[in-house]
Symmetry: C2
Subunit: 115 residues, 2 copies
DNA sequence: GTAATCTACAACCAAATGGTTGTAGATGAA
DNA sequence: TTCATCTACAACCATTTGGTTGTAGATTAC
């Protein structure tokens, strides 16, 4: 596991969920305020069922949650998980940056400045 | 596209490449110093060809590069792309954190047109 | 030279993915 | 009640993914 709270499978699911532009779009859309699945679906050129599946993938990854409101199902960004994912992304930034720096130490200055 | 330099397909490939614990492990391993594909393969319980494919996925996403050294192929973290990906991850952190702001401005490029 | 090692790549396979259509159950509106 | 809307979910399909084995080409070691 990478960060305390996440298992490898969790991280897989999160990155997997983000590896689709429609799903990335959905996540940012529902961060403002909740949007019903049907309203969401009307904005994409695919079937309602397809959007339903995308939402399910995001939900399984913990990026969004759903709650009923009458006959509608409201999708919204799951703030707590989003925050944990921010930490996850920061973690990877850290690992890469530190490792890259360590590699820079090994190399000479010319190589460092080549970028 | 989400960040200037990346197309949607680029971002797809990057997140997709990271959605596998073996590949995440490879990325962090080769950040220190380059490792040959065979040496890399010896550390995982899968065939050489399988590791070869994982490296190919990472390479296609721009996360690592390969260069020949004799009969070996050395895999190393592509520092410039890694840096751009750090910016990408920061971008998503920003978008999510500032979710109270108008979303249309932030993600217009990523949007399909509504009807 | 021959043998061992490293890589590339094709062919194949099972499972997952991303889409579709169709059917059925709740719920709200008239 | 009746009808329209929203959702859930199954079945199906094509493509991709992640793995395998096998073969062949370079390169190094002896």
């Amino acid at each position: 596991m990478v960060v305390d709270e996440f298992t490898d499978a969790d991280v897989d699911a999160i990155f997997r969920a983000l590896a689709d532009s429609t799903r990335r779009d959905i996540v940012t859309r529902v961060m403002n305020d909740g949007i019903s699945v049907s309203r969401l679906a009307s904005r994409y050129e695919m079937s309602f069922a397809a959007v339903q599946k995308h939402v399910a993938v995001l939900q399984a990854a913990g990026l969004v949650s759903k709650h009923r409101s009458g006959r509608e199902q409201i999708v919204r960004g799951d703030v707590t998980t989003i925050h944990r994912i921010q930490e996850l992304l920061s973690y990877f930034e850290d690992v890469w940056r530190k490792r890259a720096l360590r590699m820079g130490d090994v190399l000479n200055d010319d190589n460092r400045e080549n970028r």
